[in-house]
Amino acid sequence: MYFNSLDFALFLPIVFILYWFVTNKNLKLQNALLVVASYVFYGWWDWRFLSLIVFSSLVDYTIGLQLNHTAQPSKRKLLLWSSILVNLGFLGFFKYYNFFIDSFVEAFSFFGSPIQPNTLDIILPVGISFYTFQTLSYTIDVYKRKLEPTRDIVSFLAFVSFFPQLVAGPIERATHLLPQFYKKRKFHYSQAVDGCRQILWGFFKKVVIADNCAEYANQIFNNSAEHSGSTLLMGALFFTFQIYGDFSGYSDIAIGTSRLFGFDLKQNFAFPYFSRDIAEFWRRWHISLSTWFRDYLYIPLGGSQGGTWMKVRNTFIIFLVSGFWHGANWTFIIWGFLNALYFLPLLLAKRNRTHLNVVAQDSKLPSIIELVQMGLTFGLTVIAWVFFRAESVTHAVTYLKGLFSSSLLSLPTIRPTNLLVLILFFIGIEWIGRRQHYAIEVLLLKQSRVIRWAFYMIIIAIIFVFSSDNQQEFIYFQF
């Protein structure tokens, strides 16, 4: 079920009413309702996918309990690796099987021994990369004794399948989300209103910014050979805003929806395009994934504890794995590699933790230096996104060659004024709200209700009008 569908518009109020009015007196019943609702939400795509998520949940639930009963290190390790193998096995099969087969075939052909490929017609279960990482974090934390395993199977199933964040995150840690299922939730007016506001902004990002940028980005990327450098630049910029609007919009809707049910999810995006260097960008972009890789990959590999070579190696590993996590295509791996390259000078100069605060913390506008830093970081990100969006590495390289040609200085042939105005409005609002969890969190809160409501209504009106033009799937559903 998509957030931007009529199905969800009916589903959400029904679950909300059942949750707060029918099951509110019994915590177990309330959690059970969330499990059922989440499975309906997920099964709406394809009910067959449900077996996978149920199986994965049961495996980790059982292993969690077993870990608690076992003190023997070798047996504990075996249990941990069983969970990793099952979870990553599913992920590997559904997401990467064909990629590996194709890559082997290409490699053999390159060395003059062509072989017959034996690829399968596999459908990628929606959100598998997200919930796999969520359940894995539970088992690893139990293994490391950071978390007591739960005996409450309903809470555990609800934790793994919690519908607002099930298919595209934020990837929650068991240490943060699971305990929230143990406690009775109370309805708070301010929390619910805040949730609605965040949902509204999420929809604006998705429907107005992302979907409309997608229309032009697709047009330009799909016929990149025919466009001038300046138009290709527009295409890359449109994709840059598309992916941000799409993914952070989804996160906002997820977080806002959770708040309606009394849950608190972690912030997943913190205005990444206002970053002053790549390190800051990665502290602000898809935070739940970056911190997952930090805690469960980078640190176990030695993190920053070893020498320079160790740090460089570990940095490259997490960026490459992060790229590969996004999809079974070399374009994502190159995208990860490119980001690691961007990160390298900061790491070597020990300047990767320079910008820990919000840009222009105490002023309305950035300084010239900050503006240049943001521009450079944004530019590097735009180049990397070309690899992320391109069909193949060759396509990306040709695209960039075309972009950095003499026609870069010509007038772009595609320059939709309405959309450019909306993007500027969007950047303006995001800049104003950059100190908050989401852009309109406190915007106009000091103004009268009339002004505030008028603003929200205008946003809804824009969403309505733009929603009828062209709806696109959330990009991150494919991951």
Partner: protein
């Protein structure tokens, strides 16, 4: 909770009332259109003896006013550029729903493209958008997944970005609508045409089954409404497509009439009457329309 629900409800009631202002733009949208034939169909403004349905070949190549003069049958051209047979079926269904049945329907065929998969002809939703103030049109857009069900309640969901523009749409010289709904091409396109003489092979496996069904549905509609269906093979600046003709005969009911342009007439091999290889200019359309009139008159 009560406070939250009350606030939410108040917000949406106010929004619901205010958003009704969007009807100003919805009602204005048709006024910006040069071609308002669809609106006339939906409002039941027609009472014609003969209507023409088809794609650009229909709207360019048949002059409905001339046909009216020559046959004495009141005629109107309801063909649209770039549309497929599914759209043509929609036009016929809509016409019959809101207007008295015509005596005759001329269906212009697009040769090998008539039943083919994919482009260049398709169901042009863009032609429906400006008229979504009419529930019938809006429902059709909902059924086609181009609008959501919310548009039955919220006017804003019937709007497009373009509807906020107050400018009238630009009309190119070959998009000027005549009184009887035709859009003849005034001059030849500045390109040199090459007559294609090779024999074409029709590929049945490239057919879209939905388009075949649409053709059958058109025939059935005409039959049940007691309408004489006349299918028309318009001229092209290339050899006649016998392969398509053969396939067409398998699908066509024998009681329907078929008009094929006079393939032996050398004028159809004269480049000067063509706009491009598939469309005639006004002079060519006059010749072709006369041929059709002659056929109708001799089969009255």
């Amino acid at each position: 909770m009560k406070r939250f629900l009350f606030t939410l409800l108040s917000f949406f009631i106010i929004f619901f009332l205010l958003e009704k202002a969007s009807w100003y733009f919805i009602n204005k949208a048709p006024e910006k259109e040069h071609d308002r034939r669809l609106e006339k169909i939906v409002t039941g403004s027609f009472n014609k003896d003969l209507i023409i349905i088809g794609s650009s070949r229909g709207v360019n190549n048949i002059l409905a006013c001339q046909l009216e003069d020559e046959t004495g049958l009141s005629s109107y051209n309801l063909s649209y550029k770039g549309v497929d047979i599914l759209f043509q079926l929609f036009i016929l269904e809509t016409y019959l729903k809101f207007n008295p049945s015509p005596k005759k329907v001329l269906l212009l065929l697009d040769h090998k493209h008539t039943f083919a998969k994919g482009n260049p002809l398709f169901f042009r939703d863009d032609l429906l958008f400006p008229f979504s103030k009419y529930n019938y049109i809006n429902n059709k857009l909902i059924a086609r997944g181009k609008r959501n069900y919310g548009s039955k309640i919220f006017g804003l969901l019937r709007l497009n970005r373009k509807d906020f523009s107050t400018k009238k749409k630009k009309v190119l010289p070959n998009e000027v609508l005549t009184d009887c709904g035709s859009m003849p091409n005034p001059i030849k396109r500045p390109i040199t045409l090459e007559y294609q003489d090779e024999k074409l092979i029709y590929q049945v496996n490239n057919e879209n089954p939905k388009k075949i069904e649409a053709f059958k549905a058109i025939q059935k509609l005409c039959q049940t409404n007691n309408i004489k269906l006349i299918t028309v093979f318009p001229p092209n600046y290339k050899a006649f497509d016998f392969g398509f003709m053969k396939r067409f005969n398998q699908l066509n009911n024998s009681e329907n009439s078929v008009i094929i342009y006079d393939t032996l007439n050398p004028i159809y091999k004269n480049e000067s009457i063509y706009f491009d290889e598939s469309h005639l200019i006004r002079d060519g359309a006059k010749i072709f329309t006369s041929e059709i009139s002659e056929f109708i008159n001799s089969n009255k």
